[in-house]
Amino acid sequence: MIRRLFIANRGEIAVRIIRTCRALGIETVLGVSEADRDSLGAQLATRAVRLGPAPATASYLQVGAVVHAAKATGCDAVHPGYGFLSENRALAEACAREGLIFVGPTPDNLDAVGDKLTARTHAIDAGVPVVPGGTAETLEDALALAESVGYPMLIKAVAGGGGRGMKRVNSAAELPGQLDLAIAEAAAAFGDGRVYLERFVTVGRHVEVQILSDGATVLHAGERDCSVQRRYQKVVEEAPAPGLPDPLRAGLLAAAVRFARHIGYRSLGTVEFLVDVDRQEFYFLEMNARIQVEHPVTEAITGLDLVALQLAIAEGAPLPMTQGDIRLTGHAIECRLNAEDVANAFMPSPGRVTRAWFPSMPGLRVDTHMQPGAMIPPYYDSMVAKLIAYGETREAAIAVMQAALRTIVLEGVKTNAPLHAAIMADPAFQAGGVDTTYLAGLLPTLTGATT
């Protein structure tokens, strides 16, 4: 049983984890950087310890400091949240060595999905479709591969994730320059310059499946549609995926479970797919071995507490339900509220929040670390709140979100709330089933700004 949990993260997810821990009676120790020492999470945790200075590389990414602090404060488990060390094999192994429960999958699981090429191989072995493509160590390899698969192609970092570092290549002429750039960026961002190439599916939807596994039983909790993206960053997510034909949905869910079972996955995780709308086919993209930013939409339609389940799995408890117990009801939409200036090329807008008000409203959930006086430091990502709207129908959920956007208050910094209002009011979004090119097309009509 976990009695005191070390949280190696910050922002809204630290607060989210603390919320479930308080309800369950689990004590929390939050490791913070100097920039976050006065954050809401630091105030709410049973205790907060300063890991290091503001830059994440010197604080949130310090495996040694995290494990040392967890042990020295008497914690029996470490929750890594998302991002930072959440899929870091070194942390999982250090926890195992030091007798701490790592709230996540096994080191082997992390290996199986952390390297995108390995994951791709596992998918093929598990009979899960992948996008045509492959590795390319030389420019010649890359050109030959592209020739056989056909342009446009996408260059991805083997060690990458979350869309970072992806490059589109439209023709053989563009390939050399983009390949060099991709390799250089991958080396800089991930310390691993390996890249691979895939067919770029021009009209695709991003649909992912929530997996729960105790190592023996593998269940899914439905899918999420995260096609509303800007530069590969998710902006709006929803569950279920609107207008997905039943056979396609069933195929996706089964493929995700098959993949997780194939690699012996144990924990919460998400299998991401690209859905080719024209061909009614889907391709494996990657598996995220952590709690996801957008997990609340799944919680809204299932009634599950995914963080509580994640903790229970980490403790070694068997899943307390069968697939038939997970019933999906209604529709949920999440808007990621970012402190950024939509009118000014989405520049981050750090600073001190003067007013913050997220009242209880029917159907609304808000996950946030904002409060009056909160500081949004410039060092980390700019997400300040997640608005999650639930309704019996998708239309009702949109109406809840629209009312929420009219009602909530966050002042002192600029936010992308106007963008969310525009998306919710847009007929194409309201019709449902937009693809990943949707937002780039909508933006110029709103701001005149380029994306």
Binding site: R37, D38, R47, A48, V49, G52, P53, G64, A72, G373
Partner: protein, 157 residues
């Protein structure tokens, strides 16, 4: 009017801590109190500690603005505080039973090792960073110190 006691100042600090103020100056007769929050500009000389944060347990004596944690900072009493350059377990001596690196009253140079911080078996020696006389040892031997927590206080030479 009588003098403010330490408890009075603590109370004032608490009040202000919860507020949005960046800076406070109070002069009463020969008493002067100046407060400036972390990140606030325009520093005078003897800025006293920032108020005591959230951490409930083992809250260390608060130190000066967060930015400057890796170098000694001028403390309110006139001394300098040497902060922990990283989180870890603090050891006052090179090994159990050995004499401590420094004692109160010792003279140190900037390079004098004043303790060791161990992080997952990695030992990091901590230099004084400033020359002077050790006036106080604040961190306990064998205990966790957080990043920026004051280890010892030095009266500059």
């Amino acid at each position: 009017m009588a003098e403010l006691t330490r408890a009075d100042i603590d109370d004032i600090l608490k009040l202000i801590d919860g507020s949005d103020f960046d800076e406070l100056k109070l002069e009463m007769g020969d008493l002067k109190l100046e407060l400036r929050r972390r990140g606030a500009g325009a520093s005078g000389a003897s800025a006293p500690p920032a108020p005591a944060v959230q951490a409930p347990a083992a809250a260390p004596k608060p130190e000066a603005p967060a930015a400057a944690v890796t170098a000694p900072v001028v403390a309110s009493g006139g001394g300098s505080e040497v902060p922990a350059p990283l989180l870890g377990t603090f050891y006052r001596a090179p090994k159990p039973g050995a004499a401590p690196f420094v004692q109160v009253g010792d003279s140190v140079t900037a390079d004098t090792v004043i303790g060791i911080i161990e992080v997952m078996k990695l030992m990091n020696s901590v230099p004084a960073g400033i020359a002077g006389t050790v006036t106080e040892i604040l961190a306990e031997n064998g205990q966790l110190v957080e990043h920026g927590q004051t280890l010892i206080r030095i009266q500059p030479a």
